[in-house]
């Protein structure tokens, strides 16, 4: 879960700053900023979801739509002091730092190398009648194979002790884009007051 917290005093020039200092209750302003930032973040995630399919494409698998779904789950909150946009999903953890993923309940991470395995867990495929096995050759690559209900065997996952992923800030809207959204929200709010 990633939270962006936005505050307003520096969004505009001197008139805006003076106005901000004179407003007694900022909750309406921050509500409007939260709305605009939430919508901007959703829009951003939907846009990148249209082309960020490297892994799925390399396996010729259908994308899981994780970013599209994350867009729906973007939420916002606000109070008198700030607006917060929240993006849910572990895939965003590397937006701000390099990450290392290690298994929590299994011995190894299962990295799909087959379109059938992409976006699915071993247990789910087992429930569909797939039988998993490790080749006996100790020199073989650490692959997890499976036999489907029709009796065909194929490699499904690469087994890894850990996976390191570099930071990728483009998974989420840039600071500049969020700032623009916050300005739009502030502008909407002032329009509401003066209309």
């Amino acid at each position: 879960m990633i939270n962006f917290t936005l505050d307003a005093p520096k969004l505009g020039g001197p008139a805006f700053q003076l106005l901000y200092s004179k407003i007694e209750d900022h909750s309406g302003l921050y509500e409007s900023i939260a709305d605009a930032a939430q919508e901007s973040t959703r829009d951003y995630l939907r846009e990148i979801s249209s082309f960020r399919h490297k892994t799925a494409n390399s396996l010729e698998a259908a994308p899981t739509g994780a970013l599209e779904k994350a867009a729906d789950r973007v939420t916002s909150a606000s109070d008198e002091k700030s607006a917060t946009v929240t993006v849910s999903g572990s895939l965003f953890a590397r937006a701000f730092r390099d990450i290392t993923i290690t298994p929590t309940s299994a011995k190894a991470l299962t990295i799909p190398i087959n379109a059938i395995a992409y976006g699915k867990r071993v247990g789910e495929l087992e429930a569909q009648g797939w039988k998993f096995f490790r080749p006996r050759n100790p020199d073989a690559k650490p692959l997890l194979w499976a036999t489907n209900p029709a009796g065909e065997s194929m490699p499904m996952y690469y087994l890894a002790a850990k996976v390191e992923q570099p930071q990728d800030r483009t998974l989420l809207p840039s600071d500049e884009e969020l700032l623009e959204a916050a300005r739009l929200g502030a502008r909407n709010y002032l329009e509401r007051l003066t209309a």
């Binding site: 200092s21 709305d35 976006g119 429930a127 884009e177 300005r183 509401r192 007051l193 003066t194 209309a195």
Partner: protein, 321 residues
């Protein structure tokens, strides 16, 4: 509607076990009951629905992903002895057995994903409508635009030619449905005011066999279409609303908000006061100061859409390179 309210609404639904098919549910169970219930076609087992409700709570809260949700669903079905080809749940046979792995099989990945997607979209759509129709938001974003939010290999109302090209099936694609529901395309786009009857018509099972009887997305089964709020200035430019459009309840909201911020509409303000702000009383926030601040923000926002578009394009090219 906040995220917490969406989750509360989801978890407060009554369980409605049924042996009916999707079409039969629509014909035999009223829309209001459907709205307040959790059910799945041919989902005859109450324990299954109770377990599904718990999985959905976690899924909607974002604490588990699709794969984990499906795994929990399939394990639950196994523990209840579900078998698609021998009559579903033990002791609760359904008339029509499902072929394993098909969309009628509750334990098939496609069916489980459809259940997750439909439930998540219904909750999200209801939340989006409730929040978006608040007067202050309906003022700044007066319209919804119906757009494709989720990609489909072959979208509804389209067919794929042998060449791989997608073509619309006359009368079946979304713009045609929009027309049948009484909507008019605006500059080729499906845009209408929040609260307009078109939204109810678009989701009406009386008009469309696959409709969900909702006035918010998803309007149809397995639909990838959803709403994008449209900014007031754009709605005015498109001629959908007039420049003085005020949604229902906005005047009351504005009066209360002005009172809350301590605004004084009778006060006056001079730009020179920026350097002598002691002249502005704490209780007095003149409207012309607000106008001046708005102009500052407008100046900052000039070209922002283009800047964002260019930055996103650069990001896209960097990813794909």
């Amino acid at each position: 509607m906040t995220a917490a309210q969406i989750l509360e609404a989801a978890s407060s639904r009554a369980l409605l076990p049924t042996w009916l098919s999707t079409a039969e549910i629509r014909e035999q169970i009223g829309a209001e009951i459907r709205k307040r219930s959790l059910f799945v076609a041919r989902g005859t087992n109450t324990q299954f629905l109770a377990g599904l409700a718990r999985i959905l709570d976690d899924y909607l809260a974002g604490t588990i992903n699709d794969a984990t949700a499906r795994l929990r669903m399939v394990r639950q079905l196994q523990s209840l002895g579900y078998h698609p080809e021998t009559g579903g749940f033990p002791g609760q046979p359904i008339e029509k057995f499902a072929e394993r792995g098909t969309i009628e099989d509750l334990s098939s990945p496609a069916r489980m994903q459809l259940i997750l997607d439909t439930q998540a979209q219904l909750m999200f759509g209801a939340g989006q409508k409730a929040a978006g129709e608040a007067p202050q938001r309906a003022f700044s974003y007066p319209c919804w635009e119906l757009i494709r939010l989720s990609t489909r290999e072959v979208p509804r109302g389209m067919k794929m030619l042998k060449t791989g090209e997608l073509v619309a099936v006359a009368g079946e694609d979304w713009p045609s449905r929009w027309g049948r529901a009484g909507g008019e395309l605006v500059d080729g786009r499906m845009i209408a005011r929040k609260g307009a009857t078109i939204w109810e018509e678009l989701g009406s099972a009386a008009l469309f066999d696959d409709a969900l009887d909702t006035d918010h997305p998803p309007f149809a089964f397995n639909s990838g279409m959803g709403w994008r709020p449209v900014l007031r200035s754009e709605c005015i430019a498109l001629g959908i609303i007039s420049a003085d459009y005020r949604p229902e309840g906005f005047d009351e909201w504005q009066r209360a908000e002005r009172e809350r911020v301590g605004g004084d509409t009778s006060a006056t303000w001079n730009p020179a006061d920026l350097n002598r702000d002691a002249k502005i009383s704490a209780k007095g926030i003149p409207l012309d100061l607000i106008e001046a601040a708005k102009k500052e923000l407008d100046a900052e926002l000039v070209g922002s859409a283009l800047r964002i578009k260019q930055a996103r394009q650069a990001s896209r090219e960097a990813y794909l390179s």
